[in-house]
Point group: C2
Chain length 430, copies 2
Amino acid sequence: MKQLNIQLLMTGDELMTGDIVDSNSSMIAQYLKDLGLEVSRKVTVPDDLSMLSEEIKSLASQTDILIINGGLGPTVDDLTAQALALATDKMLEQHQDALSHLKKWCIKRDTALNKPNLKQTMLPEGCDIIANEKGSAVGFQVNFKNCTIYCTPGVPHELKTMMCQEILPQIAQRVPEGVSLNITRLQIFGIGESSIQKLIDDQLPDWPKEVELGFRAGLPLLEVKLTTKTAKALELKHKYLPRLYNLLGDHVLGTVDKRPKSLAEYVVEILTRNNQKITLAESCTGGMIASLLTQISGASNVFEAGFVTYSNNIKTQVLNVDEKTLIQHGAVSEQTVLAMAQGALAKTSADFVIAVSGIAGPEGGTQEKPVGSVWIAWGSKADIQRQYLIIPTPRVYFQNYVAAIGLDLIRRQLIQSTEVPNYIIERAMK
Amino acid sequence: MKQLNIQLLMTGDELMTGDIVDSNSSMIAQYLKDLGLEVSRKVTVPDDLSMLSEEIKSLASQTDILIINGGLGPTVDDLTAQALALATDKMLEQHQDALSHLKKWCIKRDTALNKPNLKQTMLPEGCDIIANEKGSAVGFQVNFKNCTIYCTPGVPHELKTMMCQEILPQIAQRVPEGVSLNITRLQIFGIGESSIQKLIDDQLPDWPKEVELGFRAGLPLLEVKLTTKTAKALELKHKYLPRLYNLLGDHVLGTVDKRPKSLAEYVVEILTRNNQKITLAESCTGGMIASLLTQISGASNVFEAGFVTYSNNIKTQVLNVDEKTLIQHGAVSEQTVLAMAQGALAKTSADFVIAVSGIAGPEGGTQEKPVGSVWIAWGSKADIQRQYLIIPTPRVYFQNYVAAIGLDLIRRQLIQSTEVPNYIIERAMK
């Protein structure tokens, strides 16, 4: 069975200059994966008419489906329609459906139709438009040679809606029967990539090569991916997956179903299930743990209050940390972080707490407590544990990683894990 | 003068499947830009040996410099060395410099050299290694046909160090004299892309086309980029840039020097200059504003405390918001957000405050206050202003955008701006 070949063409100066990070291609790939499809190649080019049209011609001749993303906007650097016209030897003409879409769009938002917007209605003759209920630019598609070309907007939530409502249903109809790509992804924290590889080499030496192993060091979760491509390999996976679970224990947070979950999401889920609440006393993470938790829909069921106590004064005034403790042991100490945790619990009705105090840098390190030092306290009133770590990474990585460790430590306490995590960074976090 | 042609080959299943967003190519491009160089094309392929080696062969034949990123790790899916050997028709052999690097690396970290790691020493014969002081994998480079191929690690801070210390100095020596690519980038907030285009069309109709305009809707700042490629065009830019500044006024935060700044960074800079402090009372943003501020090095000079008051109880207990206010007007109201701001100022010695209360969704909306509603209060004890907005975007975008608006409103107050921002989203934020 021939797998459908799908390639992406991402456009935009901002993708080439590094002004922006391309998250759209990830989104497209994730959706295609739900159909058991993979993107085989991705090319990114700047807003350059001749490069764009050459690339379209070249890609269209080697793939079944080409998804072009970006360049549908109202400004002069948006060139996709023009490039597609050039590549497929068509003229640009005003598309009536695109025009009526734009008119409706402006009425709905009570804005006037301006000239830059009108540019968005000039499309290659004969193309079909793809509805966009979220933005001013419609998408459009053409068949060229043996390739279906979809042109999609660069704005992520417009792209998302267009993919889900229009493009994926079309592609789904073309998925050949019998393709049995099967992927299982484990989300992991507290053990590193080469340690896992070594565990497998040592303890599961007969790991079948048909069950392909992949690793991804993520932000900050690690992912282990098991891919099989035949029914027989899938059987083997069903046999070996439980062994892998056994090997990795509570380092495994869960498997990816439709989308990866964040550590915060796992913590919110457990707390919700237990009908328990958490509070936070953050110094070096400066509100990041609170922000991670409250990004999860439903966080309000498990989180009422967080305290960002950045200065010593505020640690005393807001969390009742004894001034003497701060003077005697310093802000980054077991005693202070314990007092912060107790203070936050006392101020709220939360069952659990995470408190962190560390030196995010680049300033503020000393011989005894270098940049990257951090004390973490976590637990319940009855059982507050403490740990000291040194994580010598740049400021924002440090904050991200400390936030993740805090969440992971409370996760392990919530599931009453007895396994010992190893937060040494083998491959540092992205 | 011929511009140096530079292309990127990004490798990794995780980049194809959407499991990870590629920020490395942005980093590389940003560094090259400092040398006046642009990446002309970027190709991304999965961990597939034959695709990788074919792509290397094809790219090497059409570019002066090829930077390959990823696939240097210890695990089975790391294939770059093997693919490069195949593409350039070389054998893999143990590289003595790579081995001694790895041994030193393990001693420094007090870990044993394991077998997966040893794989990282097997490199194409005749290649030169590129030092990596941050990680276990060395980089390596070869000249193949007329192309210099650099193989670099996927871990961002390792890549960063290798680029700065080894690769960029090499490339800098090859920059042809007389290339005069000149780019100015304005960071903007409070006015949308098509409004800017229209302002220019209407008020600067003679804008010279040699001064190329580019737009980027960022997270959440908008960037307007002016590119010139000749000395004459640069002169024109010097003439038109002040007019553009004049047109855009305080919507312009600044120009990008080496790297884009965040809104929080602009706010921290102004407060530092003024020797003033800020505090926060966050409900719907859940600590995000605090986290954005404290991601900036030096934030401790201007920020001592933030309060994440997610529930009504905590708003009363921690910030002294009158219970009656909450009952009478609700948590998302002018009265509540004003009381939150006053409460935070009273609890700290800060000069300024941002307070936000809104409905991030997807739950919690009502007819009167739909999902996306938010009240923001900002200012000093003497002058607290309030604004109501409805921003109908998904939860995390909403939080990001509200955080940005809060920071921008305080920025405008700090610089005593009289211009009125327009926070309607023309192209929604990424």
